[in-house]
């Protein structure tokens, strides 16, 4: 089967504080608040100065203000901000990076799609592996890039999905592109039109 055996699926490790950095920028969504708070507590024991230079950008589940933001503030992170959705957060992330100085560490906690989108922007600013930490949590729904019409379908949880751009049924591959922050989707019934494998929930 096409889905297996491709090694480009990104693998992320649990987040850890890197107190060698001078500034700490954290991006999170939904249940990603927990790992970020864990890092913040780790930093609290390391050095007080660090938290002054920590900034959190966060998308709560459901999009409205939640207890998480209070917990960030209670943990002495002065600068925690919520966003109604990922696009708004990423916009702020991009303009923050444009103003940021060397010495910044990036922490990302959220779904694989969220991490992928953040990484894509980080790459534009030449952040290297030793400046970024990411932890995957929440749903493993995929962003799928249609290799036929180049549209990207968000939140795909099934083995095959209908492309938002061209309507073709796409097989979701394990082939991940960092540049596109998406998995490749290939037309599944090219050889026998209309013959689809059974729909299965795969990326929950």
């Amino acid at each position: 089967m096409l889905v297996t055996g491709i090694k480009s699926k990104p693998v992320y490790a649990p987040l850890q504080a890197d107190t060698r950095g001078r500034y700490h920028l954290m991006l999170g969504m939904g249940v990603g608040a927990a790992p970020l708070l864990r890092v913040i507590f780790e930093m609290q024991s390391a050095a007080a100065r660090v938290l002054k230079n920590t900034r959190v950008l966060y998308v709560p589940d459901g999009g409205s203000a939640t207890p998480e933001i209070e917990r960030f503030r209670a943990a002495a992170v002065g600068n925690a901000q919520t966003f109604p959705g990922t696009p708004a957060l990423l916009e702020e992330f991009r303009s923050t990076l444009a103003r940021s100085l060397m010495g910044t560490r990036l922490y990302v906690a959220g779904t694989e799609s969220f991490i992928g989108l953040a990484m894509k922007i980080a790459l534009e600013f030449n952040l290297n592996k030793d400046e970024i930490r990411a932890e995957e949590c929440g749903t493993s729904a995929r962003r799928v890039y249609c290799i036929h019409c180049r549209a990207t379908t968000e939140n795909v949880r099934t083995n095959i999905a209908s492309c938002v751009g061209c309507g073709r049924w796409l097989l979701v591959r394990d082939h991940y592109s960092r540049r596109l922050a998406a998995y490749m989707g290939v037309m599944v019934d090219a050889e026998a039109p209309g013959e689809l494998p059974p729909l299965k929930e795969m990326f929950l």
Binding site: R22, S100, L101, M102, T104, R105, N126, L127, N128, K129
Partner: protein
């Protein structure tokens, strides 16, 4: 690397650019173009001295676009074991030398958003070629060049003409110092720093950058150590089954080569790691002078970089 891969060159220009630095232009004896290189590369120059062969690394300082000549700058070392004195005192226009193909251990990061170049004294040489690579590239950069005094600032006219206000000079004689802390604490994300100069300066830049939170992957430095002199000792090469005497003023690598045994190398300055050799037996101490092995590896004492390191012992057995 072995001598079969060297290129015969002729010295076609010599200029004394500071009281201590001579600038040499080399062209291929066979005519035509020399091998392509990128800014930051060095070559090994092979010099046939009266009683021994010297092989010293020198950075290429000319434009990578101009391959009819290679340019190097050689500082006359006070405690030279011969190489720099040979270049200064014996080499004249028309002299022939052998050189090894260029190798780059100090290249520019291709996707950096900004470059900060820092040179101390003769350390300007690899950076001159890096600057050539940066011209017209659209990526912002700045050069901080520190020297003893104006008279010791090699290639200053060339730099002023080409770099304009991207050049910042600092003269020790006038008490001017690079403000490393301010410089490194205020760089935009995606900046890379490159430093070449005296050991103290390099260590200071690395330490300051790290204190400012810079990750290793954005810090680049080049420092070729000249192999220091030391006590004489004897080494046994286990695979070749020969004993070699290492005199005080010859490096371990040079002594092994003189005995006819080849060891791979790229830099001969303790940087590249190519000459890494296993130590099989030792009844004393290794004196590590390289920048390649980690402190932990140095402490283990089971390997050595013979291009710059020595031993203080009665018996040393190497896996060669």
């Amino acid at each position: 690397m072995n001598d079969a891969q060297t290129i015969a060159v002729e010295v076609i220009g010599i200029e004394q650019v500071t009281p201590q630095i001579k600038h040499f232009k080399l062209a291929a004896v066979a005519g035509g173009s020399l091998p392509v290189f990128s800014g930051g590369s060095h070559i090994i120059v092979v010099m046939q001295g009266a009683d021994r062969i010297h092989k010293n690394p020198y950075s290429l300082l000319g434009s990578p676009q101009q391959l009819d000549t290679y340019e190097i700058g050689v500082r006359r070392m006070e405690e030279s074991r011969g190489g720099s004195h040979f270049m200064h005192d014996r080499v004249v226009i028309g002299s022939r030398l052998e050189i090894a193909h260029p190798v780059n251990l100090f290249g520019l990061d291709k996707i950096a958003r900004k470059h900060v170049l820092i040179a101390g004294g003769i350390g300007i040489t690899p950076i001159l070629a890096q600057l050539e690579d940066l011209h017209g590239g659209g990526v912002p950069y700045e050069l901080h060049y520190s020297v003893r005094s104006a008279e010791h600032a090699a290639f200053l006219e060339r730099l002023r003409r080409r770099e304009g206000d991207r050049l910042h000079t600092y003269y020790d004689s006038e008490g001017q110092m690079i403000g490393f802390e301010t410089l490194l604490a205020t760089q935009p994300l995606g900046t890379h720093v490159y430093v070449c100069g005296p050991a103290g300066m390099i260590n200071h830049v690395i330490a300051t950058a790290k204190a400012c939170g810079w990750p290793d992957s954005h810090i680049h430095w080049e420092q070729f150590s000249a192999p220091p002199v030391g006590d004489a000792f004897e080494v046994f090469l286990a695979r070749s089954k020969i004993s070699v005497q290492v005199p005080p003023d010859q490096s371990l690598l040079e002594s092994i080569e003189a005995a006819g045994v080849e060891v791979p190398y790229l830099c001969r300055g303790g940087v590249c790691g190519f000459c890494h050799t296993r130590v099989l037996e030792l009844d004393g101490d290794l004196i590590h002078n390289d920048h390649f092995l980690s402190e932990a590896d140095k402490a283990k004492g089971n390997s050595i970089m013979p291009c710059v390191s020595r031993a203080h012992c009665k018996r040393l057995v190497l896996d060669l």
